[in-house]
């Protein structure tokens, strides 16, 4: 962790592009939640969105390549507001422009997934995509002041 005080608070988790590395996400988020008094429902939303975004980068962005970088950064730009940024070096992909699949329905006989973007849009208070010279940056904000 670097810095002290709300505006300067930052923490990072560096992962490799392996699904097994994702087991580091949950304890990292729990540690942040303890240190910054993140309420339980907000912690739930953060974990849901990060699991979805990071697994998408690993499975689709890097398409199975196992030694690429996924960097997750945490910042608290103001009180009761928690920002997470996911940086990768994968092919350009803006998930916010990807067509959102409809909710699951009993009429479909096969589909089991495709809910990721829908969940992120519902559970994060702000989502922003930025293309990088080499890769992608997705920022998500979560407010405890609701």
């Amino acid at each position: 962790m670097t810095g002290n005080g709300t505006g300067q608070m930052q923490d990072q988790l560096a992962l490799r592009s392996r699904l097994s590395d994702m087991t580091q996400l949950s304890p990292w988020i729990e540690s942040l939640a303890t240190r910054h008094a993140i309420p339980g429902n907000v912690q739930f939303a953060i974990e849901l969105c990060l699991e979805e975004v990071v697994s998408n980068v690993i499975r689709h962005g890097y398409a199975g390549a196992e030694d690429c970088s996924v960097l997750v950064s945490f910042a608290m730009p103001r009180e009761s507001y928690f920002e997470f940024v996911v940086d990768d070096e994968a092919q350009p992909f803006n998930p916010l422009e990807a067509p959102e699949l409809g909710a699951l329905s009993p009429d479909e006989e096969t589909r089991v997934g495709g809910q990721g973007i829908r969940l992120v849009r519902q559970f994060a208070d702000a989502v922003e995509y930025q293309p990088k010279a080499s890769g992608n940056r997705l920022s998500m904000g979560f407010s405890a002041a609701k």
């Binding site: 974990e47 699951l104 809910q115």
Partner: protein, 101 residues
């Protein structure tokens, strides 16, 4: 059959139940999944519920979810999973819903 899930259905939790849920889905026609002790449900966890649910229903069976917490239920509703696997908060209504006609 009553399946009691416990803990987090994240990527790790989903992997832990995947095989068992698929075995149950292949052999049972009435399944109550007790969600009272599930503290987290992510999209991988959803898959671990939806795939066996479709298999059970495809064989003419029924499956219900019992008593998820508020945030878990929000995930179920946002994803539309509750339209595929009904959610019940009363045990008797969950059991009644499993009656095979």
């Amino acid at each position: 059959m009553r399946v009691i899930l416990d803990g987090k259905l994240d990527i790790e939790g989903a992997a832990a139940i995947d095989l068992k849920m698929n075995i149950i889905a292949g052999s049972r026609k009435a399944v109550l999944v007790d969600m009272r002790n599930v503290s987290f449900l992510g999209s991988m966890g959803l898959r671990a519920l939806v795939a066996p649910a479709r298999a059970i229903k495809g064989r003419g069976g029924k499956i219900v979810l019992f008593a998820p917490n508020e945030m878990v239920e929000k995930v179920l509703k946002t994803s539309g999973t509750d339209t595929l696997i009904p959610v019940h908060h009363e045990l008797q209504s969950a059991l009644d819903a499993l009656q095979l006609t």
